[in-house]
Point group: C2
Chain length 354, copies 2
């Protein structure tokens, strides 16, 4: 038997999650030599994603929401990449296949056969069920497939295509610009010829926004967003990554017929500020749509290549080992990653694992 | 000289408008026999509209908003229908033409020639500038052209066509269903095969909602909207006529991929309740668009006929004479019209005026 360490959902947080929300369990084991049949296979996890939306899953199972609650005393689940290390002769995968999908946060996963996904998860994931084989002919780090070439990148790419209705010369505002969605959104907006205003929470991040092409980048902790908007707005396309009071201020500076793409990172922890000026939607004929990515083939056909060639830049924030996931998650929610900024992920095993 | 009574914007209200906000001025006169040239013409006003959005125009001129402020000590302006009673030989109108457009609220209007519209008004009105000749081959009361066949009807018609994306069997919720926009929206939703839930503020209005075809109609003052939505929802298309706390409750009962059409009557008086659950937009991938009607020819080609034939019903609330406009406006804002419910308007002169 081999150790199969897990990141367990240990306790439902009251308010903010704490280290006690999680338990790193090294007692769990797996038999890697077991006989496999009926399509069974074993995946060794290489890396897993940490995302703000996971906060919303840390709730009692009886509280309904858009994403399924984590099961108490079971491993957390989320987007990850792994490699198939064993497969039955009739498995849909073969040894050496790299796969991407929703996985339990542990070192190895035994799949008893054709993957079954419950109805609630299907509703949440849409067609994004089961594990998808990733060729990675571009030679990107596997973590890219849970970041810039994964859910956050797809969210940015598809939402921009479907909602932004971007016209050259317009003004885009992208909050949380150094985050995984924001990074991509800035570059897509610039590629479409927009003037981009973007914000982040440190001067180091602001410097990165400029590197990505933002025309106007500011530190929202030290600068007054309203002054920036008054000088460089009004905003035609607003990527809403922060809710509450910021959103209310942004609404005041929207242009007529502006479009808003709904992301709301801050609201994952429970919104406390009530927005009072929604009448701006009528006054300015605004349009807003909430968005979460689904699978798309044309995304995989274009974006990984551009990332590999450096046509699109991305920045990641790596933490090594599942044992560091609680620390990483809490730092991410506080926006204070000790590992730097960008897409937060856990390297569970080396990239060249086979 | 002939008396040309006017409804004057007398005082900027602090909070709610009061009778002192208005002044009915009978001192004003007009020379109906004057020589007319250079395209000049004189219009006798038949009826004018009172709408909640006019509250927002009762503000100091220096406060910018989506609609131009009323000029202090000048007549109020708004949608009205009149008849051309005199016209220069080179006027674009001829005597007897009935015309619709934005007019000052007085008995007669002298137009010195080709109508000029300032830039601010153009931005507000879009292409809806100048006066449009209305044939009324359907023989509708002229007031219909400022109600069901006017701005409120057009708003309902166009917003439904452009935003609702209605599918047979879906659920629509229409608040303020007895109002001029709501009446039309209920009937359009039913025509598209939706189940319609609608609310209003009195049992008499609720009975009318059922007459219009609403499947579920309730009095929001005596019944719990959340219970209704829990039983008959979730809501696929939400016609948002009331903001604040109602809107927040409705968001909880929206279906995945729901659409919201922004109207917000209540917000015209200044919103006091802050909406905290906008994250529902992301969780449920909702789409919302604010909407105000513009001119459309296909509306005039179809709707007046349907109104005349009774295929579409409408209910109006008439007050006689400009002198009753302050009373009517205040009663309308309070939702307590002594003239009944439905589209509020002022009959300034008899319909058969020529």
């Amino acid at each position: 038997m081999t150790t199969n360490a897990q990141l367990i959902f240990n306790q439902i947080p009251k308010g903010e999650p704490t280290p006690e929300t999680f338990k790193y369990n090294t007692e769990n084991t797996i038999d890697l030599e077991q006989k496999l049949d009926n399509g069974a296979h074993i995946v060794k996890i290489i890396c897993v994603s940490l995302d703000p939306y996971m906060r919303g899953r840390m709730r009692p199972a009886e509280v309904k929401s858009y994403s399924p609650a984590f099961e108490l005393h079971k491993p957390l689940t989320g987007h990850g990449v792994g490699v198939v290390i064993r497969a039955a002769a009739d498995s849909q995968y073969k040894v050496g296949d790299h796969v991407y999908g929703m996985v339990p946060y542990q070192q190895f996963v035994f799949y008893p056969g054709q993957q079954k996904v419950d109805e609630e998860s299907k509703k949440f994931l849409g067609p994004q069920v089961g594990l998808r084989v990733i060729k990675n002919e571009e030679g990107l780090p596997w973590s890219a497939y849970i970041g810039a070439a994964g859910m956050p990148g797809k969210t940015a790419f598809m939402a921009w295509k479907e909602i932004a209705d971007a016209k050259k010369g317009e003004v885009a505002f992208i909050s949380a610009g150094s985050g995984p969605v924001g990074q991509m959104a800035i570059q897509l907006a610039k590629a479409d010829g927009l003037k981009v205003i973007s914000s982040a929470g440190s001067d180091e991040k602001v410097a990165f926004l400029k590197e990505l092409g933002a025309d106007v980048a500011f530190n929202y902790k030290t600068e007054d967003a309203k002054k920036i908007f008054a000088e460089h707005g009004p905003i035609d396309v607003n990527w809403v990554n922060v809710g509450g009071k910021s959103f209310e201020e942004e609404l005041e500076f929207m242009n007529m017929h502006g479009r808003l793409i709904g992301g709301w990172i801050s609201a994952y922890n429970g919104e406390s500020y009530g927005v009072k000026n929604l009448f701006q939607f009528v006054a300015k004929r605004l349009m807003m749509r909430g968005f979460i990515a689904k699978y798309v083939d044309d995304f995989y056909a274009t974006i990984p290549k551009k990332l590999a060639f450096g046509d699109l830049k991305f920045k990641e924030c790596k933490y090594d080992g599942l044992e560091n996931a609680p620390k990483a998650f809490l730092e991410m929610l506080a926006g204070k990653q000790s590992g730097g900024f960008g897409k937060v992920f856990i390297q569970v095993a080396a990239d060249d694992t086979d």
